[in-house]
Symmetry: C2
Subunit: 188 residues, 2 copies
Amino acid sequence: MSYSSDPRAARSREAILTAARELLIGEGPGAITHQRVAQQAGVGRATVYRHWTRPEDLLLDVMSGADLPHFKDPDGPLRPWLHRNLRAMADELAEPAVAAVALTLMQAAIWDDQIAERRDASTQNVADRLGAAVSAAMEQGELDTTADAREITAMLIGPIVYRTAMQRGLVSDELIARLINGIGTWHD
Amino acid sequence: MSYSSDPRAARSREAILTAARELLIGEGPGAITHQRVAQQAGVGRATVYRHWTRPEDLLLDVMSGADLPHFKDPDGPLRPWLHRNLRAMADELAEPAVAAVALTLMQAAIWDDQIAERRDASTQNVADRLGAAVSAAMEQGELDTTADAREITAMLIGPIVYRTAMQRGLVSDELIARLINGIGTWHD
């Protein structure tokens, strides 16, 4: 349904997306309910329903548009920063709703070019952030590796996605430490 | 329902599975309807109904049809055996059709308990095979690791799935070697 010809509807749609994004970032995907989003956006619940009948669809729109906070702003030595960020990502993916949205996004990208573009931008974005952090650590003498940024991303994030989405298992801190060890030779 | 005693029914079943696979690869799971599949297979719609009452079951059979040969029959030292099997899996996932089926299965499992059971059986099967091979290598003194079979599976397969399905990138032999190195301490 397109609301582009109705400026009021377009405004409420934007307000809802912004509110949902704030809730997602602040509290996680469990907070994306019609009631919470309506409250946060300052609109009626019926207005949220009119734009998105199912909260999952709203979550999908928010997630594929949101600039997720993972691996942002490298801070201090690489190893603990990686561990914190991977821990946060694993904890989020452990929530069925987030795993569902991540898999839906991955799968929808196969037949939908627009979603594929979002997926590509998002994976590139993560790889760029990780690459910058790894480069800084290499300059500091903390790490040596010949793997490139995208390979390192696959080595760190791939097992966490497989573990949570395919095995439906918990990601232990030991597993995260192993993944971090595996990306190169550490001198810390 | 078994049609094994009726060669005509077995032939139509095969034709329908082939047609459904083509539709899945070309257009995605939405194309798996009785009407489209019957048309593509050159059989009547009633014939499709006779084999699969619900299109979801046909989709499931198409997606999980193959008993994948990966990690079967450990043979010789662990490292080259792992490398061969991971190479074969990466080459298969590089084909968009295979990646599409794998992701569809992963995603469908979220809302469908039957598919979730097959996914669980399949991931457990791979972990059991890898676990047996790793145990044998540890007895031979080839490898030391405290990671369990399922974690090792996630560490080896996760990055390959992420690399092919999310990054749409090639899996180099160097990356495979890195993943294998990362699962423990090698004494080979």
